[in-house]
Symmetry: C2
Subunit: 209 residues, 2 copies
């Protein structure tokens, strides 16, 4: 099976609330995605995202009943932290985590949509750049943007990336992309719901690192 | 007081063995050094070094009597891991940790020695570059080297860096550098001893990341 299909996100309920326990279980497999990129360079990003997940889990485990949905966490932290909020706690961790998740989503969607550099059909730089520009660039100062451009050179070939997404199995490209397409349905809906929640709660910040 | 003088390394015994417990206690303050660089960019490096320390500590705590010096750890791991060694366990963590420590040592030594770009006397790029070339460059592939060059642009001004080393207190530059000079004595001797141990045990590797 594929890395992605083994750990699918659930369909959201009608009120679009995200169950914290299920979310944490599913999202904990996402950092493995960065191993598919092949280079050690990306282990840094994997750690950053792992750190976000660890932080959210630590808050959840303090009171699983109180923090049953992600929105319960944000509302409770807003209560406790006053002016410091939302740049604090699991709220901050989720603010950044959702950007990393969005990056992955747009990258995968771009591959499914067939965006390609016709001169270099086996490179994924156009897809990675699209994802970066839409999900992260705005939150990065010019030095981190420069670092991104250097790191882009370590991006894997399209064929190797698709193979890694299929856990190294020799599946046909179309089959792999069909799996990704399938995965993206609930994944995208979950990320959209988290973004919406941040806007509704006025919890989004746009400072740069 | 200064960040460095509060946590000085001990003088080595005549046999130059490094006591694991004392080493871990002192070195655990070193990641704070990266906060002196000011930019968030360096938090990534701080985590990498923290990871090395955590890994060595975990091994030590399994049997503090058996692992009383760093050399005891390396010898025990050589025994247990066979062909995998030295690219494994606390040996690997210390292999990389010593390079980060060497980087800091050369950077500080270069400041004490008065190396300067006369056209930009308040920049420390020449000092950082010297440290990078001597301690790390060889172990980095061209993409990480490119990332280093981008990250170099986030290096702080000399004056701000010295101030941060003095924990934000307004000490005279000469006083700060005298403190650094003092700190470097046992710090350098400790790092030299660790490098020597790696050579003696044939534990040094030169693969690149
Ligand atoms: C020795 C030579 C080297 C020299 C040193 C070089 C160092 C280079 C480091 C560059 C930056 C690496 C990326 C990490 C960036 C991170 O800084 C940001 C913000 O990170 C957040 O910051 C918060 C505070 O503001 C909290 O601490 C969050 O933590 S909290 O949990 O504590 O609240 C934390 O996630 N995360 C991000 O931008 C997220 C990045 C997501 C994934 C991006 C995928 C990109 C893939 C690219 C493919 C081409
Ligand atoms: C979203 C946009 C961004 C895109 C992504 C960008 C990501 C950029 C990341 C660049 C690399 C950051 C530096 C980290 C490099 C690390 O890869 C190396 C090796 O790291 C070692 O690797 C081993 C396995 O080979 C073990 O895992 C070690 O871990 S173990 O403990 O498990 O055994 C681990 O330390 N450490 C190093 O090179 C050490 C670096 C030391 C400090 C250097 C100071 C430099 C200061 C520079 C000032 C200007």
């Amino acid at each position: 099976m594929s890395l992605l299909l083994d750990n699918q996100f659930r369909e959201l309920p009608a009120d679009k609330s995200v169950d914290t326990k299920l979310f944490l279980e599913t999202v904990s497999h996402i950092p493995l995605f960065f191993d598919c990129l092949g280079s050690k360079v990306f282990s840094v990003i994997k750690s950053d995202i792992n750190g976000n997940i660890t932080k959210i889990r630590a808050v959840y485990l303090q009171d699983p009943v109180k923090y049953v949905t992600l929105q319960h966490i944000l509302e409770a932290e807003r209560e406790v932290h006053g002016a410091e909020w939302p740049k604090v706690g699991a709220t901050l961790a989720l603010m950044w985590l959702k950007r990393g998740l969005r990056f992955i989503q747009i990258l995968l969607q771009s591959l499914v949509d067939g965006d390609r550099d016709e001169n270099n059909p086996n490179l994924i730089r156009v897809n990675v750049t699209k994802a970066y520009e839409q999900a992260l660039k705005k939150y990065h100062g010019w030095i981190v943007q420069k670092i991104f451009h250097a790191a882009l050179l370590a991006a894997p070939y399209r064929s190797n990336f698709l193979k890694a997404l299929s856990k190294g199995e020799e599946v046909k490209e179309e089959e792999c992309l069909a799996n990704v397409h399938q995965f993206l349905v609930n994944y995208t809906a979950t990320i959209d719901a988290i973004y919406e929640m941040f806007i509704n709660l006025n919890a989004e910040l746009d400072y740069t690192v």
